[in-house]
Assembly symmetry: C2
Homo-oligomer: 232 residues x 2
Amino acid sequence: MVSDHRTKTAAPAHSVAAVVLAVREAQLQVLLWERALDPFAGAWSLPDGSLAPGETLEQSIRRHLATKVDVRELSHIEQLETLSEPARNPLRWELVTAYLGLVPADVDPALPADTRWQPVDALPALAFDHAAIVLAARERLRAKLSYTNIGFALAPSAFSISELRGLYRAALGHDVSATNLQRVLLRRHLLLPTGHRRGPGPSGGRPAALFRFATPRLEVTDPFAVLRPPSS
Amino acid sequence: MVSDHRTKTAAPAHSVAAVVLAVREAQLQVLLWERALDPFAGAWSLPDGSLAPGETLEQSIRRHLATKVDVRELSHIEQLETLSEPARNPLRWELVTAYLGLVPADVDPALPADTRWQPVDALPALAFDHAAIVLAARERLRAKLSYTNIGFALAPSAFSISELRGLYRAALGHDVSATNLQRVLLRRHLLLPTGHRRGPGPSGGRPAALFRFATPRLEVTDPFAVLRPPSS
DNA sequence: GCAAAAGTGTTGTGTCTACACCCATGT
DNA sequence: ACATGGGTGTAGACACAACACTTTTGC
């Protein structure tokens, strides 16, 4: 079957789409794009595009993000899933491979006019199956915040604990104790003190120590291994 | 771009492949297939096939498994990832979406002559990028054994704790304490006593109580939420 | 009684939450 | 001095591993 030539002519189109998330104004936001062409002309959708010969899926989504919405400063990218419902695109048979991309809170890429950040909690109707993809991306991010160092991808290069707390709160959707956040992340050696301090605000207050993430690459830090190997 | 008709003619072929795992003879084994046709004729590979019009990826891999290796008793199936390296297939541009499938230890599907179970720890050279897919599947299974009820998909409908221990040991690759396995799974209400007992072996011994998994569907049982919402 | 296999009791350790308290700065 | 925001100390709850011990069977 791999060499069945009839299937070659019946191959589906393949597109890539990205859920680009960032915390902006204390909210988890996603980068959306207003479609100019059918299907779903005028509707909001995820940034997407077609896979070109000679490139991998990840190269493809990076290319589309760079050329169409000028987003190059992704601190992290990972594949989410491939959707294949035959009717997902009303015009043709098309699969899509979805990616999760993260942008640090301190970068603000210049966006084209048809592109906008939207809070994930208040999404407009989205084209295709993109609403489900956004929710899957948010779940993936939330889970990984608990057992990996993925916070590095949301945070600026240096930050105070309370700033980091704001990022976690926005991404997780619930409050986080600054006390325990600091201790959990320090215990796991995810955070390093930079030695610098943030100046206090206009109304005073103790200056906050600044931290940075120890590693700018995704690592599993809590091997959630209830069933871990015996110590002997 | 979605409506760019040039890309339609340049679409890649799309195949599906499955890592079907089961614990057999105290080892984690994978279902392999000896390829009859090029590319990689004569080499071992994962069971695979082409996506047909009108079907989803999951329907497709279920169809190929049912028709080609006669495996219908999958207790669980989930998508792993989609691989897209342009040179992964030497004959043509082809993506593959990989699935993880699990078969309970007490079912033994009749297999065609070109199909065989092989221990994951002693794999022959595999076609394409299939070796990497098998390792990804094993990692996914191992992780999910710790924080979900996925054990239900490896286990028969009723089992003693020591039988279950054997399954976990084979899948995880290290020893597991029967004492603690029982307590962890009971504490999380994954396991229910059936009220029946297994007769003792020829050399005596206390008869083992039989258990079953409470739910035959994947559930996250340990929300590994170090950063969980405050109780108030 | 003795060996074999299953299951329970118990102790110790580590990680987390919650909350009280202390520290450093501006006005 | 006092308000404001940052950081630490500590106690309690919980989950887990390890291991000793008890129970139930065959011989």
